[in-house]
């Protein structure tokens, strides 16, 4: 296989970079203020403008320099947004205005700028990313000391700590970097001439900063960085063409972090190392059961260091292990092997030497186990003040536990007193050993060691000759003492570790169980509402925080599920909306819109974002989620998102099925209606044309028949149109009931009157008890129902057969029955006669659309009542309407 094919994944990456409409970013990189970045950017902008590119100025700080201001003239400058903060108006770039204006290129000065509190993003580079995502090119300026990974070096070299930093990852995706270089000597001349903007309040610090040594170092950094960038581009070029060879087999670095503030330096060092080696790198934090009892500051520090690593381009992981160094180092090495790590970076221990000898150090353990993995130990030049480590014993053993261990020793002594005379003193040691074992199992390591130590002393004092002194006559007992003490030590160590591991396992298992519970409940939730309530309940229980779930509805986020006593204002909804549109977390404890009350996570599936999860304050404190909690919450969010997507897909399928059946119905409707509309028209047109015919001899009787027939057919047509209108109203739900107390007798009378001649075919007997109560109804619509039911009865009855109408009361319902002696309804059809366009297929002479009964059903059901058809004893059918007596 000599042929070198480009790796499809790499090709895809390049294509994505080229194809997506994301705007291109160009950075004018300088090593210090005053080298002329803004000026160079403006010049470049003018060139582009001359080429016909639509350029606008999003934000530029001219610092009142005449030459710069001159260049700004002639460009469209977008008005700035005034962000009010503590009564002061701070000018900021108006991101929305830029995106709305949609130029081809926008100029944004000071890439590393920190936005005023209350802005959408904490940092301007995030604003720029949003503009880029909108497909707009951006020119921006940056000084090298603002790069996150160089931050500490810059601080070391210059003695000035720069607060405004940007993650290296942001620079990595940049399309182009242009270094604006100026030899330090010239820069110093410019400074003296007052051509470099120096804020008054910082003048002294700045003066200190602008030393030639500093400038040279910074200049070197920026040039080297740009060179690395060129190198990267070269490599990318080679990748697309499958040129191989210059880089070593993939190095992978692993940096182990701890809550120590030095971890930050460790992370930055690893980033530089990884850059030099062009290697991928991973930041790992191993969580021990102690994590739970750590101070919130420390927990936050771990979270922020992991965040820093991610900002610098690492992937970060958190694993759990037991408290002991052995367990931690084993976990790290196992992880390293699994992930093909070639180098591990760890911090040099800061503990005093004696502690290290006594307890060993993690680095030693790592080196011992590392095998073929290199271990880099990084030290710090100056020793920062490390907050005193908490005594690990204190965490697990309160004074009362030590008291209990004393009680155990006292018990052992009591037992020893009782049986002391009968057995050898050396065997009594076993009783004390028992006490130590109990202490180790139930009280922890410290109390166990304490118990073994006190046990040795008491044993010596009471049971070893000479009694009541610490002196020992028989030197053999020394071995017994040492034995007792060592065994106590070992046992306590072992049991303590076992219980720690059990604790860690328990926690992991608890997490798994919670996830399992959630997925089980989600699986059994039938619809969206129950899925949301399951998700909310589980999240609330597991994290003890208030929860909000928002789902999109016609492109707007709507709160669907909210914890008790919670409300989301417009601003919160805006944050959630941002999360929904960008599929990135935002809100509290994040870098985007941190002023929000809640932290918002996108509910993501492979197909996109289905909603947003809002996480409120904990019941007890306002602390951030721990990384383990965050991970678990993400797992919850994933499960929830999938369940929501599933429900939405089901809903979609249902809609499709509904549409299909509606289509089928529509076809039936069209067929039926075209027939039923045309038939009366045939009769009417026929009659009119016959009367119009001059040559035709028509006698009076024929004339009258023709006219009467045409009138009857016109009436029928009118009724059909009325039925269709009513049907449409019922189906579209626009029908509004005007409920009023209605007299059933009046109702039947009105219906009979409306039927008019049509009711003459059959005698109708009405039997409604006197004093029948008024029934709440929409009189007009119910009259229509009775007309339809009577018409149906007449239609299927032979001439002159009696039709009866009766009313009766049943509990809280009024029942109206229409009984006929007609052909009756086949048993199979009883439940279907009220379906739309359904007609019992006989007798042939009977016509009609089959709309009447289904309209009646719709009207009665709108009243909260029921209709049904029954067989009548002795032949015929009963149509029955039940209406509730009270609404």
């Amino acid at each position: 296989m000599n042929e070198r094919r480009p790796d499809p994944d790499d090709l895809l990456k390049n294509i994505q970079a080229e194809e997506t409409r994301r705007g291109r970013l160009k950075i004018f990189l300088g090593y210090v203020a005053g080298v002329g970045k803004t000026y160079a950017m403006l010049e470049a902008a003018h060139q582009r403008k001359a080429q016909g590119v639509d350029v606008i100025v999003g934000y530029i700080e001219t610092h009142k320099r005449a030459e710069t201001e001159e260049l700004v003239e002639g460009l469209v400058v977008l008005p700035r947004k005034q962000v009010e903060y503590r009564g002061v108006n701070l000018p900021e770039m108006d991101v929305d205005a830029v995106i709305q204006r949609k130029p081809q290129l926008v100029l944004v000065d000071e890439f590393a700028h920190t936005n005023a509190p209350g802005s959408r993003h904490a940092k301007r580079y995030q604003d720029v990313q949003e503009i880029l995502a909108a497909g707009i090119d951006v020119y921006t300026t940056l000084n090298i000391q603002h790069l996150e990974s160089l931050n500490d070096i810059v601080a070391q070299v210059t003695g000035v700590t720069v607060r405004e930093t940007i993650p290296d990852g942001v620079i990595d995706e940049v399309a182009e970097i242009e270094v604006i270089d100026l030899p330090p000597d010239e820069l110093l001349v410019r400074l003296q001439e007052g051509k470099v903007y120096v804020p008054d309040q910082a003048a002294r610090a700045i003066q200190k900063f602008f030393r030639k040594g500093n400038l040279t170092a910074l200049r070197e950094m920026s040039l080297r960085r740009a060179a690395e960038r060129v190198d990267d581009q070269m490599r990318a070029y080679m990748q697309t063409r499958a040129i191989q060879g210059i880089w070593a087999a993939g190095e992978r670095l692993l940096v182990c972090i701890s809550p120590s503030p030095l971890s930050e330096r460790l992370v930055r060092t690893t980033r530089r190392l990884a850059d030099e080696l062009n290697a991928e790198w991973i930041a790992l934090y191993v969580e021990t059961p102690q994590f739970a009892s750590m101070s919130p500051e420390k927990r936050d520090r771990v979270a922020s260091i992991l965040q820093l690593a991610e900002d610098l381009g690492a992937r970060s992981y958190t694993l759990s292990a037991g408290n002991s160094m052995d367990a931690v180092s084993a976990t790290i090495i196992e992880f390293a092997h699994k992930n093909n790590i070639t180098k591990i970076v760890a911090g040099k221990p800061l503990r005093p030497r004696w502690q290290e000898i006594l307890r060993g150090s993690l680095v030693d353990k790592l080196i011992h186990r590392s095998g073929d993995i290199d271990v880099y130990v990084v030290t710090s030049a100056d020793k920062p003040s490390v907050p005193a480590e908490e005594n690990p014993l204190r965490l697990h053993s309160t004074p009362s536990r030590y008291l209990w261990s004393l009680v155990l020793v006292a018990l052992a002594t009591g037992v020893g007193m009782l049986i002391g005379g009968r057995i050898e003193a050396t065997n009594l040691v076993m009783v004390y050993l028992l006490a130590v074992v109990f202490a180790a199992v139930y009280l922890g390591r410290g109390p166990a060691i304490f118990a073994s130590f006190i046990g040795v002393l008491v044993f010596d004092l009471l049971f070893v000759h000479p009694f009541y002194t610490f002196t020992v006559s028989d030197t053999e007992y020394i071995i017994t003492f040492i034995g007792l003490f060592l065994v106590g030590l070992v046992i306590s160590q072992l049991t303590a570790r076992a219980s720690e591991q059990a604790e860690a396992a328990r926690q992991r298992e608890a997490e798994t169980a919670e996830l399992y519970d959630l997925s089980r409940d989600l699986a059994s939730a039938a619809d969206l509402e129950s899925i949301l309530s399951v998700l909310q309940k589980h999240l609330e229980q597991t994290f003890s925080r208030t929860i909000a779930i928002l789902l999109p509805e016609s492109n707007r986020l709507v709160t669907h599920s909210l914890s008790k006593g919670m409300s989301l204002n417009e601003e919160e909804l805006a944050v959630a909306d941002w999360v929904y549109r960008h599929a990135e977390p935002a809100g509290r404890h994040t870098n985007t819109l941190p002023a929000a009350q809640l932290r918002y996570l996108p509910l993501r599936t492979s197909k996109g974002v289905v909603g947003v999860l809002g996480v409120g304050k904990a019941n007890t404190s306002d602390s951030d989620l721990s990384s383990a909690q965050r991970r678990l919450m993400e797992a919850f969010a994933n499960q929830g998102a999938q369940a929501i997507e599933r429900a939405q897909l089901e809903e979609q399928n249902r809609q499709i099925a509904l549409l299909q059946s509606a289509e089928k119905l529509q076809n039936t409707l069209l067929n039926s209606i075209s027939h039923d509309l045309r038939t009366p028209l045939v009769a009417i047109t026929g009659a009119l044309s016959a009367l119009d015919e001059k040559d035709m001899e028509i006698d009076d009787a024929t004339r009258n028949t023709l006219i009467e027939n045409a009138r009857g057919e016109a009436d029928r047509l009118n009724r059909l149109v009325g039925n269709l209108l009513n049907m449409t109203r019922i189906e579209s739900g626009t029908i509004k009931l005007r409920l009023e107390p209605g007299d059933v007798q009046d109702l039947v009378g009105t219906a009979l009157e409306q039927l008019g001649k049509r009711a003459e075919k059959n005698p109708v007997k009405v039997n409604i008890p006197a004093n029948f109560p008024l029934v709440p109804m929409d009189f007009t619509l119910m009259a229509q129902v009775v007309v339809n039911l009577l018409e149906n009865a007449i239609k299927y009855s032979p001439q002159d057969s009696l039709i009866e109408v009766t009313a009766s009361l049943d509990d809280s319902k009024a029942r109206l029955q229409i009984l006929d002696r007609g052909v009756g309804i086949p048993s199979d059809d009883l439940s279907r006669v009220f379906d739309k366009f359904y007609r019992v297929q006989r007798p042939e002479s009977v016509s009609g659309t089959g709309l009447g009964l289904s309209i009646s059903k719709g009207i009665v059901e709108a009243h909260g009542g029921e209709v049904c058809a029954k067989k009548r004893e002795g032949g015929g059918a009963i149509l029955e309407v039940e209406l509730p007596l009270s609404v």
């Binding site: 009325g722 005007r738 107390p741 009046d746 039947v748 009378g749 929409d778 009189f779 007009t780 009259a783």
Partner: protein, 228 residues
């Protein structure tokens, strides 16, 4: 059955075919027919032609028919009959409450329209000019508060008598629920229940078959009409 009248009729409808039909049908009855296609035109035409009766469509292109009725009633008592395709009872009630005399839903028979016109044109009977009302066996003697059906005296409660009296004095015309309630029980009284019960009782006393009333006819959702 042409009756030689010289009465003037104003037909207001934006559909030329309907105006054409009415002109033919009513002209054959001896009426002089004037036409208007819009509300504004109709208001002008009432001033210039002084019609004896107005036949008004509701769905006019410029002003709604109900609004036309309201404006006409500010200065004219000319009878108005509404002709409309709108069959919702709210529309009917709104037109009647605005002052229309009657309401017919399209499509309608010519005979029906002529009957309604006759009722509208007839002078309202009252105790003064017509002390006894008689129709199809029902007789109401206003002076003696005496009601008989087929010569048989009927005992009515004062409320039932008041109801019957209102229906009788407006015989042939529809009286809305609201109008009945206001005239019998007074302003602000709006209890449909009591009206239904009283009508039901009244029918029980005067109708030969209350299930198929011959005198008091129900206009569903709108009100009642005494058939003549």
């Amino acid at each position: 059955m042409t009756t030689p009248t010289n009465q003037r009729i104003l037909v207001v409808d934006d559909e030329a075919s309907i105006r054409r039909y009415l002109r033919a049908a009513l002209g054959a009855q001896g009426f002089s027919v004037y036409e208007s296609a819009s509300g504004e035109e109709a208001l002008q035409s009432v001033l210039s032609h002084r019609p004896d009766i107005i036949i008004l469509d509701l769905g006019l292109p410029d002003i709604d028919g109900i609004e036309v009725t309201r404006r006409l009633r500010e200065w004219s008592q000319t009878p108005i009959i509404i002709l409309s395709v709108r069959e919702a009872e709210q529309d009917k009630i709104a037109a009647l409450d605005a002052g229309a005399d009657d309401y017919l839903t399209k499509p309608f028979g010519t005979g029906e329209l002529l009957a309604r016109m006759r009722v509208a044109l007839r002078k309202q009977p009252s105790a003064a000019n017509e002390p006894v009302f008689q129709s199809k066996g029902l007789s109401v003697d206003f002076a003696h508060r005496l009601v008989t059906v087929n010569e048989k005296e009927i005992q009515l409660t004062p409320t039932e008598y008041d109801l019957l009296k209102i229906l009788v004095t407006h015989a042939g015309k529809v009286i809305t629920h609201h109008q009945l309630l206001r005239q019998v029980w007074g302003d602000g009284y709006d209890d449909m229940h009591i009206l239904r019960v009283n009508i039901s009782n009244l029918r029980g006393k005067i109708e030969p078959d209350p299930a198929r009333p011959t005198y008091i006819h129900t206009e569903p959702g709108v009100g009642y009409r005494l058939k003549v």
